[in-house]
């Protein structure tokens, strides 16, 4: 036993915002090992400049945003290639946002509708001023040259 034991101290200190009550800065950061699992082929498709959706062979529903199993019957879906041109179903231009996207404001979000596809696809619209975007505007997909394996690997521009 060491009766003079000391735990070594560090000099990193604490960021203090207030003393009554005491408010300190607490840092928190995580790296996840995130698997896209059954959605993986969609992201691989983006790297190959393809937009993949899901089709339920039993219900004949084609989903513009992929899902491994059908929302209506629960059956397994098949991968299908979506058209790369569609129309703006709805839109907004964000002037504020979450911290991760603040630097990118203002940006325009759209839901894209495709002929013959039953559901919509969320994406960004580039190349238009906020007052130029409208429902029904024809748009086409454009892909990042170097894929980041994120849904933002594809975005839309006026067709």
């Amino acid at each position: 036993m060491d009766k003079k034991a000391r735990i070594p101290e560090t000099e990193d200190g604490t960021v203090l915002f207030d003393v009554d009550p005491i408010i300190v800065k607490h840092h928190y950061e995580i790296d996840y090992l995130h698997s896209y699992a059954q959605d993986s082929p969609f992201f691989a498709g983006l790297a190959a400049k393809k937009l993949l959706g899901s089709r339920c062979p039993a219900c004949s529903i084609t989903y513009a945003t992929p899902r491994g199993h059908c929302m209506e019957c629960g059956g397994a879906t098949e991968w299908v290639e979506l058209p790369q041109a569609g129309r703006v179903h709805t839109f907004t231009t964000c002037f504020f946002g979450g911290e991760a996207f603040l630097d990118e404001t203002p940006f325009t979000l759209i839901l894209v509708e495709f002929d013959g596809i039953d559901t919509l696809f969320l994406s960004r619209l580039a190349g238009v001023e906020p007052d130029e975007v409208r429902i029904g505007l024809p748009v086409r997909a454009r892909f990042l040259r170097n894929s980041k394996f994120k849904p933002t690997d594809v975005y839309f521009i006026p067709a």
Binding site: D18, P21, I23, H26, Y28, Y36, D39, Y63, A64, T65, R67, M71, H89, T90, F91, T92, T93, C94, F95, F96, G97, G98, E99, A100, F101, L102, E104, F107, L109, I110, L111, D118, T119, L120, F121, L122, S123, R124, P130, I135, K150, P151, T152
Partner: protein, 430 residues
């Protein structure tokens, strides 16, 4: 199932930040208020609790509900956490109803809180956006105001809803809140004030959106025998309903409207539903709650509605889901003046359209003006609804302006995600 009653409620003042109290003490403050309101009630008579809070990120503490249970001195009785995004509070209320209706408990505490001030607003927006699909939606620019802005753009396109009609909702709710000392942002506003506020996501301005808040609320839910034993002035919970929809609004079907008893197929021949303009989960929750409560014409059989107006647009959309007016009429319903209190001066003129009877919506000020500490919000609505039906608004608020004359039946509505979980509960004077 046996009859279930709410016998007391309590809330803290909702504020941007309450750094002087942690979540445990905030809940205790609301709890002590609710206990004091039923003098015969002893804490030991509470059989257990359900606790609602939305985000572990905001709390930076897992099992925070267990810490509240501990702080209130309710150990070792049963408790569990209820979580479902923005509808967390409404789900918690219904979980307490279930505990009593099933006979598992005679007296159940529903308690909820959120401490959103622990991060800045931008980080808070990010936490909230984590409640959207993190593979497909969040990374594209995850921002709930953006999602709701897209939904209302489509509502405007389908139905001709205007930004001025939306602004009128903000005027109403902020003006009502001037008589509610628990509210975070009471204000006398004009339509022009709302439209000239900073644009957040077109067409929603800062005043079309609720704020982030710290706060807590509780509701005590009891059996008939317990309510009688305690000599409380109970309010009966006569209907509960809950609905769900796809997490990603892009996945919503474009099909047919599930009709309420007072609607006809012919009302909606060309409407593709719900698309992104309406909330199928809200319609489902309402239909279930109305059926249980025996309501066939909600616009005429309800005396007030406290609904989840996180955005002015979602109040308009929700009035339609609840069948207070038909789909597409929400904007004109607001313009008619039907949902405005007759004894509050809003500085507005109304169309006077007589299609809809007088039915105050969000007399408390709603989320827009009271604030939205997520886990507490649905319980706050229960507390305001309970006080309305008890006729005790003046005693609890120190101002009787918001007290409706002898209301018999009210509706509370709690809403998550882009309409992903929605609850509707019906409260009636016993």
């Amino acid at each position: 199932m046996r009859p279930v009653y709410m016998i007391s409620g309590g809330i803290t003042r909702f504020a941007k930040a309450h750094p002087e109290k942690d979540f445990r003490w905030m809940v205790k403050e609301a709890f002590d208020y609710a206990l004091a309101d039923v003098p015969a009630l002893d804490r030991r008579q509470i059989d257990g609790s359900v606790c609602s809070y939305f985000s572990d990120h905001f709390t930076r503490q897992l099992m925070a509900g267990a810490m509240v249970q501990d702080y209130l001195g309710l150990n070792p009785r049963p408790s569990r956490r209820i979580e479902g995004g923005g509808a967390t509070g409404g789900l918690c209320f219904q979980a307490a109803w279930e505990a009593v209706a099933s006979g598992r408990m005679e007296l159940c505490l529903a308690m909820g809180f959120e401490t959103m001030s622990r991060v800045n607003t931008w980080k808070g927006n990010e936490f909230i956006a984590m409640a959207s699909d993190t593979n497909f939606d969040y990374p594209v620019g995850g921002f709930y105001t953006g999602y709701y802005a897209m939904m209302v753009q489509r509502h405007m396109h389908e139905f001709g809803t205007t930004v001025e009609q939306m602004a009128r909702v903000a005027v109403k709710n902020h003006a009502n809140a001037r008589h509610n000392p628990y509210a975070q942002r009471p204000a006398r506003l004009s339509v022009e004030d709302v439209r000239s506020a900073p644009m957040v996501a077109t067409p929603l301005t800062l005043l079309d959106c609720c704020q982030m808040s710290d706060g807590a609320a509780v509701a005590l839910i009891a059996s008939a025998a317990m309510a009688e034993k305690l000599g409380a002035t109970p309010v009966r919970i006569t209907g509960v309903g809950c609905g769900t929809d796809a997490m990603r609004m892009a996945d919503r079907p474009h099909g047919r409207v599930p009709l309420l008893p007072h609607e006809r197929e012919a009302d909606y021949v060309r409407l593709s539903y719900p698309g992104v303009h309406s909330f199928r989960a809200g319609r489902t929750a309402a239909a279930l709650a109305y059926r249980m409560a025996g309501i066939s014409e909600p616009g005429r059989e309800l005396d007030f509605v406290e609904l989840h107006d996180a955005y002015t647009s979602s109040e308009i959309q929700t009035c339609e889901d609840l069948g207070l007016c038909r789909y597409g009429e929400g904007g004109r319903f607001v313009e008619s003046g039907a949902p405005y209190l007759t004894n509050v001066d809003y500085g507005l003129t109304f169309s006077g359209d007589q299609r809809w009877p007088y039915l105050p919506v969000n007399p408390s000020g709603g989320l827009l003006a009271c604030g939205h500490p997520v886990g507490a919000t649905g319980l706050m609505q229960a507390v305001f609804g309970f006080w309305q039906l008890q006729g005790t608004i003046e005693r609890h608020l120190g101002d009787g302006t918001l007290q409706l004359p002898g209301p018999k039946r009210g509706l509370i509505h709690s809403h998550a995600g882009t309409g992903t979980y929605i609850t509707v509960s019906i409260l009636e004077r016993a």
